[in-house]
Symmetry: C2
């Protein structure tokens, strides 16, 4: 693992690191904010999964998470959204290929060799960070924005007992029924839609739900609102009696201005779950 | 109007009053909490509509609203849930007739002569209380529990510009598609289901929504959860991009223990809307 940069921030350290990933078969870069408390021993950790076109860097710079995380004594991990670099397939569209890994393990050509973001986020990167940094494996929570909200919700529901809480900002809620999803799941996983179902938060909510609290914020003026299908997850969660706070936030759009506006609420929400876990 | 009782409470007054109602053609009883500030001039008002089997008295005694209302300087009105007394029709079932007015104007026999709770809550009682007490007609909000949540949501959506905010505790959300609704709407309004639609919060959400913030709390262990159809309203609200906080509260049931647990949140929510109105 190589240290790209480390900056003091809010009494802790905002680092950027590069490492070789077996899952994606190449180098991956991630950000990690460690609060000051990490100097004295392991701290709880919040995973933040980013959306389409993002790298590890966008949320690290624009989501405003570090100040609140410092206040709560929580680390935040900012992974990249896809493999990158020479020999890694790509597409001209912004919503497929590099920057658009969709948090699945691709089985189809040309994506299969490197696009294993599910394994990267759930196995590879955890193995590295829990071995390397002062982080508590028993106190994890997960959040994300848009495609990253989709990743957070599906990974949380598919890993019972791993995460104390899950939240999302404007998540893609029902990708098997949306243009943000059908194209990508088809490209990465093939035409057999039964392979898509494990990566659809609404279908997972109908099937199993999440054993812990869930918080979702989505703006009423989200320019991609029709693609998110918030209504499908809202229906499934209420029907299941899932512990959830679903908030349609008036006037907010899909941007990081929206994300940062509610970051305090999300970090506080996760801190409460993490410290009672 | 006759004063039944007045008790000092939280620096203000909890009163119970009886008056002749033109709408229901008989005497009606209601509770009114006036905070101390009402001695100096009109205060904002929150309507609290009760559920099946309740009178004006249940919420007044058990919902724990007065302390928070006093803190915010807000009055709370607790109307009865149906006409009562000699000559008023009734049914042996707990969910039809007296104590179960469903906040509609009955057109069918034997209910039509007295069961005009829609007019009572939206015209008759407002005329009386704004004439009689130090209440601001321009600063109203509305909430309710179960059948009263149904009343609050439908009345709020049907009276744009009257209420700054609406909330509900475990509301009946989709009565045209529930055993808590089809029986009563059929009995009071007749078999023509087009007459039911104006009294269904989910259908109103699809049709028009509410121009202001909405807060709904429902327990995940609500013993009547299947009858509430929270999922239908959740879907409609998210699809409409309604400004809403929908919270499924883990472990809570349908009782006043649930209502009182979240009363502070609801009064605070309404106060914020009322004082910025």
């Amino acid at each position: 693992m190589e240290t790209i940069s480390e900056n003091k921030a809010f009494g802790g350290t905002q680092g950027v690191y590069k490492h070789r990933s077996d899952a994606t078969g190449g180098d991956m870069t991630f950000g990690l904010f460690l609060p000051g408390e990490a100097a004295d021993g392991p701290v709880p950790v919040l995973w933040y999964l980013s959306g389409l076109t993002c790298t590890h860097e966008n949320a690290m710079s624009k989501a405003g998470a570090q100040g609140w995380a410092a206040e709560q004594g929580i680390a935040v991990i900012f992974p990249d959204t896809s493999p990158r670099g020479e020999g890694v397939a790509d597409d001209e569209a912004y919503d497929l290929g590099q920057g658009a890994g969709f948090y699945v393990n691709a089985t189809e050509s040309p994506w299969a060799p490197h696009f294993k973001m599910w394994d990267y986020i759930t196995e590879d990167l955890p193995d590295l960070v829990f071995k390397t940094f002062a982080l508590e494996r028993d106190r994890q929570a997960i959040t994300g924005h848009s495609m990253g909200g989709h990743g957070a919700l599906t990974i949380a529901m598919q890993h019972p007992d791993r995460f104390a809480s899950v939240s999302a900002f404007a998540p893609i809620c029902n990708p098997t029924d949306s243009d943000w999803g059908r194209k990508q799941l088809g490209a990465y996983l093939g035409a057999d839609e039964s392979k898509w179902a494990p990566h659809d938060a609404t279908l997972l909510m109908r099937d199993k739900g999440f054993d812990g609290p869930m918080l979702i914020d989505t703006g009423t003026d989200d320019q991609f609102g029709d693609l998110l299908k918030t209504e499908a997850l809202a229906h499934a969660a209420a029907l299941r009696r899932q512990e959830i706070q679903l908030r349609m936030q008036p006037g907010y759009d899909h941007s990081y201005f929206f994300v940062s506006s509610f970051m305090e609420d999300h970090i506080t929400f996760h801190a409460e779950a993490l410290y009672s876990a």
